[in-house]
Every structure is written in C-alpha cells, then in structure tokens.
C-alpha cells in the first residue's frame, strides 16, 4: 500500500520538477531519490510498518510474495534510472513528464502486485498500459516511434477488451469479482467459466507477448525509443507475468488440470517461435525483442508448473531477466546503429562496459554463476516436479541451447571481431562502474540465490 500512494504522489511531484530547475539532470536526480524512497517504504511495509491505513475491502492484499516482487521491480527500476537516466534526459523537452509517467507505471505495478479482485487487476493493468502508450510514442518526430505507439495502443486496447469480456463472463458465472471466491466456486467447468478463462488466458498472453499473440512485440519494441523499450521489455513484462501467475493461481488453481496443457502448448510455441526467429535477426534491438518473447516462454513454464519452485523461480527470473536486459539496453541506447556488427571490437575500446555486457549476456543465456542460470533452473525444476511433463523441460532446454547461438553472436562481435574504432560513442566512468555493479548483482544472485529467495515466506 505504501508504494501505491507514495509513487502516485512522487509522480505528481515529478511533473512540478520540470518548472523548478533549469538543470537538465535535475529530473533524473529527483527520480533516483524517489526510487530510493520507494524502496525504503516498500521494505518498511515488508517489516510490518504501513504508513496508510485504507480499507480496500480485501481487494488489495500484500503478502511477502507481492512485496518481494515489488522490491525486485523497484530495484530493477532504480538500476534502470541509474543506467539509462542520461538517455532519458537527452530528450528535448518534457523530461520530467516522462519520469512522472514512469512513476505512474510503478503505481500500476504495485496495484497488480496486490490484487485480490478482478477489478483491481484491470485497473492495475490499465494504469501500467496507458502511460506506456505515451512513452512508446515519445519520440514525436520519429515515424517509427509513432507507428509503435499506435500499434501498441490498438493491440493493448484489443487485449484489454478481451480481458474485460473475460472478467464479465467470470462475474456471470460466480457473481463476484473476488478471485478467492471464484476459486471456491470453480469446482466444475461450466461454459461461462471456460469462456471466461480462455478470454483471460488470451488477453494475458497478449500482455506477456506469448505466441501466437506475440506479433505486436517486435515492431513495438523496435520502433519505440530504445530507453523505453528497455522499460517495456523488462519491468512491465514482469508485472504482466506476475498478474498472469497470480490470477491463474488464485482464481483457477483448483482446475489446473483443465488449462495446464493449454499453457504448456502456448509455452512451447512461444519458446520455439521466439528462439528460432531471434536467430535470424541482424539488429540487436530486434533480436532482443524476440529474445524477450523467448524468455517469456521460459517464464510461462512457471505459470504452467504453479508450485513453490515456480513461485521462487519467477521472482528470480524477473530479477535476472530485468537486470540483464536493462544492462544491455543501456549500452545499446548509446548506439545509433543497432546492428550486431556495430559492436565489433567493442571490448578493445571499452573493456569495462564490455565486461558488464558480457555478464548480462551470459545471464540471459543461462550460464552457471549468473542469475539467469538459477532462474531457468527453478523453472525446469518446477516443470519436472509435475511428473509426466519431462518432454516440456527437454523442449525448453533445446530452445535454451538455440538461444546460446544468438546471444553468443553478440559476444563474438564484442570480443573476437576486429573493427575500426568508433569515435562517436563514449561512456562516462560512473556508467562503467554502474555496469560493473549490475554485473556484480547478477553474479551474486547466480552464486547465492537464497539471498533473495530467503525473504519469501512460503
């Protein structure tokens, strides 16, 4: 509850910051300060200190799972602000408004984190989506950015429509919006229930860009300004996944046998399509959009498994995936040319930044000693625990091996290929240190994931 209210207030505050200072970097500093403040506030709530006492009639409930999820998201956004802040503030005008929109998205994320009612889910998803449409189109003079915003808006509106319809069907079936009561009522499959479930499944698949609902993703991620692609592909996607998991666990957990196989099939499609298509991409930005689809396939395994391993694994996956992707995008945002060849010989010129990127890439590929390994590990463990679904795990690891192919192409460009030095790209010293800090976080989670997971009270 702390984060919902404080982030909304800070968002409004951000808008005023635009009036006060003339300094270009002031909004970034205020935003970073705000993030640290929110982190502390969320942690205090975890420790049992709530600043606000609002009766939500049980529609928003925060347990350790929600709060740790919130914490992971806030840390990721803090890392994002630190690494990409200079890119955000390089926009010509309205920098503080862009930050304000991101703070409103945080509000939406923490609504989603605690929802117990389908209404709250809907409101949360909308609070996340609407500012995002604006962010996607924030490069007003760029045609591709406009196209991305429009496409995102149309697709988002469409999937929201599906979601509303699904919610209506569920309400018609159970007579309530509260997920736990829906769970209790869902003992037998009625037509209304199954239609509602499938509509919600489709709309959530849209939001997390799972195949066959993924077609908007590459275009939108590619067209949007790189800084905001980073935000969309990591934090927002994680939030949508969290909603997906929580909705299906709390509302439909009892009838998992009915829809489990459906999610498994979607996961397989997402894994195969995401990974195979990513292999053929020449632009790193587009490759990362397909890789985000592929990673979504792995996270879907968690939704399919729906056990303790999946819960722990998803939290770890959000952290691992967000940190790594934010790191890579922060470097990519400095490049005008987004092709993989542009990175040839990168390690020679910027060894520190290159090393940070190396760890991020290894983590995405799921190499041991990085957080990405344990993220995938938990997903596989969750699936294998289901017993007779080993084939799903085998498909997943074969896809993971395919993913090594395209991730390592970037590595090869950075470390093994030669090229004439590029003079127009420079990194400040602090940026290099921050990349190292990010790499250290990834490695710490890869050596000892218990440092994060021990806070989840299962």
């Amino acid at each position: 509850m702390n984060v919902i209210i404080l982030s909304a207030i800070w968002g409004v505050l951000m808008m005023y910051v635009g009036f006060i200072g003339k300094s270009k970097n002031l909004p970034t500093y205020v935003a970073i300060a705000g993030m640290i403040f929110l982190l502390v506030a969320n942690w205090m709530e975890y420790l049992g200190i709530s600043f606000f006492d609002i009766n939500t009639k049980g529609m928003l409930v925060y347990d350790s799972f929600s709060l740790i999820f919130n914490q992971v998201m806030l840390i990721s956004i803090l890392v994002y602000f630190l690494l990409s802040g200079s890119q955000v503030s390089s926009f010509k005008n309205n920098v503080s408004d862009l930050y304000a929109l991101m703070f409103f998205i945080i509000t939406g994320i923490s609504v989603v984190a605690g929802f117990k009612s389908l209404l709250m889910l809907f409101i949360g998803i909308e609070i996340i989506s609407i500012p995002l449409y604006v962010l996607a189109g924030s490069e007003k003079s760029n045609l591709k950015s406009n196209e991305a915003a429009l496409k995102y808006f149309l697709m988002g509106a469409f999937s929201t429509g599906l979601m509303l319809m699904g919610i209506a069907f569920l309400y018609g079936n159970a007579g309530t919006f509260m997920v736990e009561e829906i769970q209790l009522g869902a003992t037998e499959i009625t037509p209304m229930l199954s239609i509602g479930l499938i509509l919600l499944l489709s709309s959530m698949s849209f939001k997390v860009s799972a195949a066959p609902f993924h077609f908007w993703t590459p275009d939108v991620y590619d067209g949007a300004p790189t800084v905001f692609t980073s935000f969309m592909a990591t934090v927002v996607k994680s939030a949508a996944f969290f909603a997906f998991f929580k909705l299906f666990q709390n509302a439909f957990g009892n009838i998992k046998d009915e829809w489990g196989i459906l999610v498994a099939v979607i996961a397989v499609f997402t894994l195969v399509i995401g990974n195979i298509t990513a292999v053929f991409q020449q632009s790193l930005k587009r490759m990362l959009s397909y890789s985000s689809i592929a990673q979504a396939g792995f996270m879907l395994l968690g939704v399919f498994a729906m056990n303790t391993f999946a819960k722990q694994g998803l939290i770890l996956y959000f952290a691992a995936y967000s940190l790594a992707t934010i790191g890579i995008f922060a470097v990519l945002a400095k490049f005008k040319d987004h092709s993989i060849e542009a990175f040839n010989g990168f390690a020679k010129q910027h060894p520190v930044v290159a090393f940070g990127m190396l760890i991020c890439i290894l983590s995405l590929a799921g190499i041991p000693l990085t957080a990405g390994f344990f993220a995938k590990y938990f997903m596989l463990l969750g699936v294998i625990e289901q017993g007779n679904m080993i084939w799903l795990a085998i498909i997943a690891v074969i896809c993971a091996a395919v993913s090594v192919y395209y991730y390592f192409r970037v590595l090869q460009a950075i470390y093994f290929k030669e090229a004439a030095p590029q003079t127009d790209i420079s990194f400040s010293k602090p940026f290099g240190y921050l990349m190292l800090l990010n790499a250290a976080l990834i490695i710490a989670l890869g050596i000892h994931p218990d440092w994060l997971l021990s806070y989840l009270n299962m």
């Binding site: 290894l362 190499i367 041991p368 000693l369 590990y377 596989l380 463990l381 294998i384 625990e385 080993i390 795990a393 085998i394 690891v397 074969i398 993971a400 091996a401 090594v404 192919y405 390592f408 090869q412 470390y415 093994f416 290929k417 000892h448 994931p449 218990d450 997971l453 021990s454």
Partner: protein
C-alpha cells in the same frame, strides 16, 4: 562460504582459482606467467601430498562440505578418493607443462590468457572432486567457459566457428544432463543433491532408461563418441596448442569420468540393458576414426582422430563392466593424457618452426633434430601402445576385460589398434625421415624448456610402462566401487 584450508579438496579448488584471479590483475610483462606457474606447481605438490598423506581413512582430509543453498539441499561438497586422485594428478601434471611450452610474448594480453587457463584448471578440479550433483554441473559448465574464450580469442583462422560448434554441442549435452540431475533430485528422499542421496534412490526400469540417455548424451558428447564427435577435430585444430592440450589431455576425461562416477552406479539396470549396443557402436566408431586418421594430411587432425579412437577404447572398457577393464580405463585415462600432450608438444614445435603442419610438406627432421625425433618416436610408440610404454599396460588390461565380455567385440576393437600403428608410423616416416623439404631445411633441434618437458613426459611413459605397480595399486580400489551394483 569457504573458510577452512586445512583439507586437500579445498586447497585444490582455491589454489588455481586464486592463481587465475591474480593473473588477471597482473598486467606487468611476465608476472602472470610466474603466478600461474607457481600456483599450478603448488597444486601439483598438494595433489602429491594428498596421495601420500591422505589415506582413505582420513575422512577429514579428503572431504569438505560447505552449506550453499540450504533450502535446495545442495552444498559445496568435494571428495577425494582414488579415482579422483588419479585424475587430479593428471590435471596437476599437465598444467605446468602447458604453461612451460607457452612461448614468451607469443600471446597478446598474456595475463588474461593465463588467468583463463587457471580458471579452467579450477573448473576441472571441481568436476573431478564434486560430491554433489549440482556442484558437479556447475563446474562442468565452468570448465567450458574459459576454454571457449581461450580458443575464440587466441585460436587459428577459423577459430570462432569451430569453437562455437564445440560450445553449442557440449551445451546441449550439459542441459540434458541438468534435466536428468533435477529429475534425480526430485526422487531423493531427503531432497538433496549429494551423491550419497543419489546413490540411494530406487528407480524403476523405465525411469532408468530415460535418465540413462539424459546423462549419457552429455558424457558421450564430451568424450566424444562417434557420432557425436564432429566438433572435436575442428576444435583441436583451431584452438591454440596449449588449450588443445588441456582439451584433449584432461577435458575429454570428464566424459569418461562422468560415466564411471555417475552413470554406472546410478542406473545399473539401464547400463546392463544398453552396454552391448553401446560397445558395438563405439567399436565401429573407433575403426571409423582410425580410418579417417589414416587419410589425414594435417598432423593436428591426425592426432585428433587418433584421440577419438583411444577415448572410444576407454569408453568401451567402462561398459564392459569388468574389474580388470575398469582398472585399465582409469590407468589409461592418465596415460592418454600424458601421451597426447607429448604428441601435441611435438606438433607445436614443428608448427612454430616451420609454419606448416601438413605431413606432406614436412620430412627429414630426424637428421636436423635428433632429440626431438627420439622424443617423437617414444611418444608415437606410446600412442600405438607398444610394450614397455605406459599405454601398453592400460590398453592390455582394457582388452583383457573386453575379451572376457565378448571375444568378437574385443577383436573388432583390436582392429583400431592395428590401424593406429598404420597412421602413427606413417606420420613418423613422413615427418622424420625422407628428404628435407623447403619447410624443414633450417630446422633447429629442441632446447631448454622443451627438453625438460620431454624428460618429464618420457619418464612418465617409460616408468609406468616398466613398473606400473604403484599406480595400479592406487587405482585398484577406485575401479571396484563403480562396479559394485553389478556383482
């Protein structure tokens, strides 16, 4: 996590790790070489000390366990027994030799080269000593990453492609292994990854069949067994020679070791079911690899294919499930490491001096370089497994066991030994004798460090060939334990 240094496994992990990390930081000319040489020699001392002082009954010296992932039931636990000691000794002997033969100022960014090399050693030690399946998997992968970078940065012309192929191959194998490990973990009663809990799991026949293939694919790719071998000749040829030595001398043993340590004790029913066909495939693969070796004109590719045949023999010996063959395999793992490194040293000297490694472009080296030639002949004899060389003892024992298993299979596998004489002697003849070519005109004999390396390797080859008793005594017990479920 790691606090105690008062036992051997911890030292064997820490010494190369610290040496490697230090090397990364020492940019000053030559410093990294000294540090890594010192740490690898210290590792050798520790291994030898462990063989002398840490008798099997001294559990505290041979075992170490640190809590790692408490909730997951995994701990950093390492165990030194006779089998591991043999392989650790091999690793510890090979690395100083590898560092010795790296020429001064030959590689750019030498400190990174040595750092990665030492990390590889740390990974290998971890694989051999791991007494916990997740730790085993961790080190299995970690040994691979530095090698990937070493070969991709300092390798030959087609290095990026060849190394990538190698990486993808082994990565698929290890991911399948991971699934197998996770499945086993969920079957354990106490939810633990420790090897003891794994041994206690009761599996149905069907489960064993599935798990057998998940585990075996990883090991078969690593060894490699035909038809999973296509990465190997390219990788050996393109990697820088020091790395090729590590790859062929130590790393491929990871596969054989995996079979002995994990596969045989865990899935006895499946092994009994499949060992016949597997031995047959391996034997055919050995002949196939030997035939290809005969046709090779590149010394490097010839050694690579010869290595496939030799490793195949070890794998066949393991699956024969006979004690004498198992002892032979453990001994031969050590011998093969020594012999193949000896061949690579020669290939490296010839390539550095003449710039070619095509057999047809060489010749007449014997008159120019007698010391090198004598050494080359000894190494070649060991490769053919002539009596009085180390390989004779090992391969004789393997054949003994194979013959007990099935005389026909033994005869089939024996063909590859005859073929190995063909290609090895052919190579000797065309490289050392005949008239000198333009490339070998100004050939200079080996000197200084190379002579030391020769002496060390030859003494291993001859000593084990003449008097194998001490090392056989050491491995006797090691070879019986994996076969326990088959009695």
């Amino acid at each position: 996590m790691f606090t105690a240094f008062d036992n051997f496994p911890a030292l064997l992990i820490w010494l190369p790790l610290i040496g490697g990390l230090l090397s990364f930081l020492l940019k000053k000319e030559g410093m990294a070489r000294i540090v890594s040489m010192a740490s690898s020699l210290l590792t050798l001392v520790v291994v030898v000390a462990s063989m002398i002082y840490a008798k099997p009954e001294h559990a505290l010296l041979n075992q170490v366990s640190y809590v790692w992932l408490h909730g997951l039931g995994s701990s950093f636990s390492f165990l030194l027994d006779e089998l591991t000691k043999t392989l650790c000794l091999l690793t510890a002997v090979i690395f100083p030799i590898v560092i010795l033969i790296v020429k001064k100022k030959h590689y750019k960014n030498e400190h990174i080269f040595f750092g990665l090399l030492m990390l590889t050693q740390c990974g290998l030690m971890g694989v051999f000593m791991a007494a916990d399946a997740l730790v085993f998997y961790f080190f299995w992968e970690l040994a691979l990453i530095p090698v990937y970078f070493l070969s991709s940065i300092w390798g030959g012309e087609k290095r990026i492609k060849a190394t990538f192929k190698f990486f993808i191959y082994t990565f698929i194998g290890s991911l399948l292994l991971l699934i197998g490990i996770l499945y086993m973990y969920l079957q354990t009663e106490d939810n633990s990854f420790s090897i003891v809990s794994f041994y206690r799991v009761q599996l149905t026949l069907q489960q064993q069949f599935g798990l057998f293939f998940l585990f075996f694919s990883a090991f078969a790719i690593k060894m490699p067994i035909v038809p999973f071998h296509t990465w190997q000749p390219d990788a050996y040829e393109q990697a820088p020679t020091p790395v090729t030595m590590v790859l062929s001398g130590v790393m491929v043993k990871m596969g054989v070791f995996g079979v002995i340590r994990w596969l045989l004790p865990l899935f006895p029913l499946a092994v009994k079911e499949f060992n016949g066909p597997i031995i047959l495939i391996i034997s055919i693969g050995m002949i196939y690899a030997s035939l290809i070796a005969i046709k090779q004109d590149s010394i490097k590719r010839l050694i690579a294919y010869s290595s496939i045949a030799h490793i195949g023999l070890m794998a066949a010996g393991v699956f024969a499930l006979k004690e004498v063959a198992m002892q032979g395999v453990v001994l031969q793992m050590f011998n093969h490491g020594i012999n193949i490194v000896a061949l690579w040293v020669v290939a490296d000297i010839i390539e550095k001096q003449t710039g070619v490694y095509k057999i047809s472009e060489l010749g007449g080296i014997a008159t120019k370089a007698p010391v090198l030639s004598v050494f080359f002949v000894v190494a070649a004899m060991a490769n053919i497994a002539l009596p009085l060389t180390n390989a004779f003892v090992g391969e004789f024992m393997i054949f003994n066991g194979l013959f007990k298993y099935n005389p026909w299979i033994a005869a089939l596998a024996g063909v590859s030994i005859i073929l190995s004489a063909v290609y090895t002697l052919n190579m000797i003849k065309n490289v050392l004798y005949g008239s000198t070519s333009s490339a070998t005109e100004g050939f200079v004999d080996a000197k200084n460090t190379h002579v030391i390396v020769f002496a060390v390797l030859v003494s291993f080859i001859i000593a084990i060939g003449i008097y194998p008793e001490p090392i056989l005594h050491l491995i006797e017990k090691a070879s019986n334990i994996p076969l326990y479920p088959y009695k």
